[in-house]
């Protein structure tokens, strides 16, 4: 056995070390959860640049308040809540700005801009738009479970652990959301399979 082989740190170990002063290790958490955080932000505000700002802000906030995270095995669930809060703050700010400048609030709904399609070489921009629109059309509780499962790659058991929700509830939500999506995405599935 190679004695130089290192065992990857677990998330609670990384967090311990970050809190102990090794702030650079926080980068491991940023790398690990970036895509999931982006997906959560993108379903709430479709502009990729805004979503990126929100995700950046969320990670910085998570770092600043890391000592408040009681269960260190639940970083992802905690980060998820921060991202969602940041999205809500963003929308509130947009609303305030709209009122202040007497703009038509309706016109500020940013849910029109498509995520950079060139990032997804296997799907066309139209297909990406269709998929994201289908996800946005789901109720919040379904949407987050779908993102954590299929973009984050978490199992139902881990989603329940991270979100602090009951296993049975997460399971039911996932299957309902899956069925809705499977039907909505049928045209894309057909195109991909053909």
């Amino acid at each position: 056995m190679d004695k130089t082989e290192t065992i990857p740190l677990t998330e609670p170990q990384i967090i311990e070390k970050v809190l102990g002063g090794q702030f650079q290790l926080f980068g491991l958490l940023v790398n690990q959860h970036w895509n999931l955080a982006m997906a959560l932000a993108l379903v709430r505000c479709s502009d990729p640049a805004t979503a990126e700002d929100i995700v950046q802000e969320s990670f910085i906030k998570a770092y600043c308040h890391l000592s408040r995270l009681r269960d260190r095995s639940c970083f992802l669930g905690w980060l998820t809540k921060i991202v969602i809060q940041e999205c809500h703050s963003y929308h509130r700010q947009q609303m305030r700005r709209a009122v202040a400048t007497s703009l038509d609030v309706q016109s500020l709904d940013p849910r029109q801009i498509v995520f950079a399609a060139e990032s997804n070489p296997g799907l066309t921009s139209k297909q990406v738009e269709f998929i994201h629109s289908a996800i946005r059309g789901l109720p919040d509780s379904f949407r987050d479970v779908i993102i954590m499962r299929f973009i984050g790659g978490l199992s139902v058991k881990d989603i329940a652990l991270q979100s602090g929700k009951r296993y049975g509830m997460v399971r039911v939500r996932l299957h309902r959301a899956y069925k809705l999506l499977r039907d909505k995405l049928a045209p894309v599935i057909q195109e991909v399979q053909s």
């Binding site: 002063g21 980068g27 940023v30 990126e52 299929f150 881990d158 999506l181 499977r182 995405l185």
Partner: protein, 79 residues
Amino acid sequence: MNTCKTCQKLIEHYIEGCLSSADRDQLNEHIKDCPACRDEFARAQSVAVILKESYSIEQSPQSAMDAVMASIAQIHEHN
């Protein structure tokens, strides 16, 4: 004995992210001879793949992540 009912359970495990390798073998064994279950499993796999791919960022968001770490380094210095 593998039945469509068992297979359905296994597809549910796949969707839930808890399909073991033994489960997968059992599933593969069944779908070889069952077009209906094969289609159902293919649909589940397609949903998983297209969802993941639609949010994948091939162009590395390294600069965005670097910006986060640069801010964190500043915060660390000031504390």
